[in-house]
Symmetry: C2
Subunit: 158 residues, 2 copies
Amino acid sequence: MRIGELAARAGVDVQTLRYYEREGLLDPPARTRSGYRSYAPAHLERLNFIRHCRSLDMALADVRRLLELSKDKSASCDEVNAKVHAHLERVRAKRAALQVLERQLAALDAQCASGHRVADCGILEELIHAAHGEACACHAGPAAGAREVSAADRWRGR
Amino acid sequence: MRIGELAARAGVDVQTLRYYEREGLLDPPARTRSGYRSYAPAHLERLNFIRHCRSLDMALADVRRLLELSKDKSASCDEVNAKVHAHLERVRAKRAALQVLERQLAALDAQCASGHRVADCGILEELIHAAHGEACACHAGPAAGAREVSAADRWRGR
DNA sequence: CTTGACCCGATAGTAGCTACAGGGTTTTGA
DNA sequence: TCAAAACCCTGTAGCTACTATCGGGTCAAG
């Protein structure tokens, strides 16, 4: 199986496969004489596993570790459980933060009266006004929850 | 006001301010003879506006546009309204996707029986099993909703 | 006059791809 | 038989919104 076929079968981009190989998630396949990658069915299985984990929004580093762990059948699976559980908690936290954010934006969106000029745009006014009250960020205003979104946006990087 | 003070007052990193300046979000301030940045109070106001928009998870490109628009008081505010509304819709979609994801992960997490070895780890088994059923991605399986999360993760980039 | 806190610009790194550029190879069909 | 199209290769740069580090300059206190 050449790279294009594997990519099509798994529904990913060819570039992504080369990227996974570079990152050590997919074993380097055999090569034809002309240097083309030649994949075995096992590669497709592994790739499907990776994509499934990614569809659950797991970090590639975690996926790589799960792949390692799954090789050693006699190893303890505590780490697997912990990883999945920790990931669930992060997703939970992020979803909660987005819920707060959604409410704030909905309120902002509702400010849009029929003012057609920027001069009396309720949204801009609200944005500027809120910005004033928020300076110094040393109190727990309504934006405190949302502020965590930006941080949470990077949770996979930790 | 030097950069350190402005950063402290707005609760951001000094580097972030230099970044905002480079990106055209903050006007270049005056400089002292030795080249230090010297900010006016207006810079703090503007910065607070930016940080408030960011706390609502808006993209910097959108913030930059809002700043431009807010200068011309006689301009139409349709674009402001549209931007905020579109942003709200993206947040809504992402939150919904995360909700689906959360359910899937919770189910996965519940698979963790008391098997202590990888060989009989319910989670790994489930991950591998699900990956099999998912190949080709041409049907709408339970992961279809979650798959949008990864895509949604990049919605700001579009 | 030295120590430490501050500041400068430039560069590189983060996650997970995606999109080139500038080549070589294989397949198809006229 | 040969040309075009479709595929493949490596390497590099781009995306977001920062953050960190480097090597050096400046300033205030003691």
